[in-house]
Amino acid sequence: MAEKPHASSHIAALKKSATGIAGFDEITLGGLPQGRPSLVCGFAGCGKTLFAMSFLVNGALQFGEPGVFMSFEERTQDLMENVGSLDYDLQGLVDQKLMVIDHVYVDSSEIEETGEYDLEGLFVRLGYAIDSIGAKRVVLDTIEALFSSFKDTAVLRAELRRLFYWLKERGVTAVVTGERGDGLLTRYGIEEYVSDCVILLDNRVADQITTRRLRVIKYRGSSHGTNEYPFFIDEHGLTVMPITAAGLDHDAPEDIVPTGIEGLNQMLDRGGYYRGSSVLVTGLAGTGKTTFAASFIHASCLRGERCLLFSFEEAESQLLRNLSSVNLQLKSYIDEGLLRVESTRPSLFGLEVHLARMYREIIEFKPQTVVVDPISAFHGPQSEVHATLLRLVDLLKQRNITTVFTSLSDAKTTRAGLDRAISSLMDTWISLSSVEADGEYNRLLYVLKARGMGHSNQVREYHIDHSGIRLVTPYIGPNGVLTGSARLNEEARERRAGELRQRISEQRQRGKQKSRDELERKIAEMRAALEAQEQEDALLDHDEISQLQSDDDSRRQLARARGVLE
C-alpha cells in the first residue's frame, strides 16, 4: 500500500495529469488534477465512458501511466467491443499489463442485507487492481450504479466519501463518471464528494443534429476555460475544440498567391490574393464556384504547397472526375500527398463538430491552402453559423493559411443573408453571376472587394471549358458591357458598320482623288499653254531683236558702203 508520494504536491503549483484528449488539456491548462479524483458527469450517451477510457488509454500509451478501469455498468467484453469503434486495442493493453478492466456487477435481487456492512470489498478489489500493474490512473464508471444495489444509502455515502479520500491517499488520478440527475450534476449528488474538478458533458439536439459539448464547471486550484466547448467522438477518440479567443493579432504577410486564373490575376492589382487572406466566392448554382476554388488549389499544388479541401457537396472521386473535365487534374497531387480531400455531408454533424473536425485536420495536415466548399451547406441559426466561421477564419489566419470559401447564393437573396453576415470576415470577395439575355445565360464575374489592393471594377464574362476558366476580353461599347451572343452580335454589327464606313470613306477618298487629278490636269494644261505662250513670246522677241540687229547691220553696211564711217 504505497502512500502519499504525490500527496503534498499541491502546495506548490497544482500538478496535472495530461489526458491526451486533443483540446481538453489546453482548456484545463494541462489536464486533470494529478492524484485527485475528478468527476465527469452528463446525461446518458454523452460520452462519459469514452472520455474516461480515452484518459486511460492515452495515459497508458502516451504517458506511461497504467490505469484501472472499474466498470459498474458495462461488462468487460461489452466495453471492449463498445470502444472497438475507436482505435483502442484494450485487449492489447491488458495483455501488456498497462490496463486492468474490472467489471463490478451487483444484482440487488440476489443480495440480502442483514446487519452492518461496508464496502471494503470494493477497496480491496481496487487496491489489488492498482497494485497489480502499478496503476497511476483509475476510472470508476459509473459508481452511482451502486445506489441501486445497496439499500443502505447512508453507508454507501460514507463509503464513497471514504473511497475518494482513499484514492487521494493512494495518489492516483481518478475519473469518476456520474449520470446527470434532475437539478443535480449527478443523480445521487456525489459531486459533493468529488469536488476538485467537475466536468460536464452535454449532448444537445438542434434541428435534428446533435452537438456534444463539454464544460469545466469547477477546477480547484487552477484556472481553466469556462466556456462550453464542442467536442466530438470519432475513430481517433475524443476531440475537444478549444475556441480560440477570437484574436485579431495574426500577422499579415505581404506575399501574394496567384489565383490560378490568368484573367482574375489581372483584375487584382497585386496579381493574386494575399497569403493568409480569406477569399469568398459566391454565386448561383452552376456558376463554377468549385471550379474557381479548384483552380486555386491546382495553382497552389503546382507551387508545391499543401492543400486541404473540405467538400460538403461532392465525394472525392466525383469531385476529381468533374474537375478533370475542366483540365484540373488533381489526382496526382493527392497521390503525392500535397492535396487532401475531406468529404462529409454537412448534415452529419452539427456546426461545431464540423469546425472541430476541420480544426483537427488542419492541425494534422498543416496545409498552406484550405478550401471550404461550400459554407452555405452549413445549416443552423445564423448567429451560430457566423460564430463558427469566425472561429474558422481566425484559426486559419493565425496559421497564415490562404482560404477560399465558396457560398451558394440564391437568385433573390444575393448579397443578403449569409453573404452579408460573413462579408466582414472575408478579405476578398468574388461574386459570380449568371445573366439571362437573348435566350441564353452568360456567366459574369465581379471582384466585389479585395482588401489591401486595388482591383478592377469591371464585370467580366468568363467561360468554363475543357481548358479551365477563361476570362473573355470585355466588350465595352456605347451600349454598355455585353456578354455572350449579344457581345458577339454587337461585335459583328460593329464590324459591319466599320466596313461600311470604310467603304464610304474609300469612296470619298476616290472622289477627292479624282477632283484633285482633274485640277492637276488643268494645272498641267494651263502650264503647257503658258509654256507655249512663253515660247512664242520668246520667238517673237528673238525675231524682233534679230530684226533690229539686221536693221542695224544693214544700216552699218549702208554707211560703210557710203564710206561715211572711218
Binding site: 474490472d102 440476489e110 443480495i111 461496508d118 471494503e120 470489498g121 478489489r125 451502486l146
Partner: protein
C-alpha cells in the same frame, strides 16, 4: 460495535479456515448440501460478528449439511472479483443454486434464513 473499519494493512495473521469446519469433499454437490463462502477483510469487528453468527445459524439449522469457506480478502484480494464482492462481510451461497449473497454481519437471523432459503422446520 459499530466502529467503521480499522484500516490496518498489517493484520495478515487471520486465516479463516482455521476456525471453520473443513469442507467435506464428499458432501459437496449432494442434494441438500449448503456450500457457503464468507468473505471478510481482516479481523474487523464486523467480520468476527458475521462469522460467529454464521456458525451459529448453520449449527442450528443446517447441522451436517453445510460447509463454510472463509476467504480473507486481505490475504487473497484476487478472489474478490470472482464472486463480485463489494460489501463486506458477504456470505455467498454457492449451493444449492441459485447463487445468493447476503451482506452484513448476519445479525438478523430471520433475514439470513430467508436469504439462504432455509425452512425452519428441520431443526425446530
Amino acid at each position: 460495535m459499530t466502529t467503521t473499519d480499522v484500516h490496518d494493512p498489517d493484520t495478515h495473521t487471520v486465516s479463516g479456515t482455521a476456525t471453520t469446519p473443513a469442507i467435506d469433499p464428499s458432501a459437496v454437490g449432494q442434494p441438500g448440501h449448503y456450500a457457503l463462502r464468507l468473505y471478510i477483510a481482516g479481523q474487523t469487528p464486523k467480520s468476527v460478528t458475521a462469522l460467529r453468527n454464521l456458525q451459529r445459524i448453520c449449527e442450528e439449522y443446517l447441522s451436517g449439511v453445510y460447509s463454510i469457506e472463509v476467504i480473507d480478502l486481505r490475504v487473497t484480494p484476487q478472489l474478490a472479483a470472482g464472486d463480485q464482492i463489494l460489501a463486506l462481510p458477504t456470505l455467498v451461497r454457492h449451493l444449492p443454486t441459485p447463487l445468493v449473497k447476503i451482506i452484513g454481519d448476519l445479525s438478523n437471523t430471520d433475514k439470513v434464513l430467508v436469504g439462504l432459503d432455509i425452512r425452519p422446520e428441520p431443526a425446530n
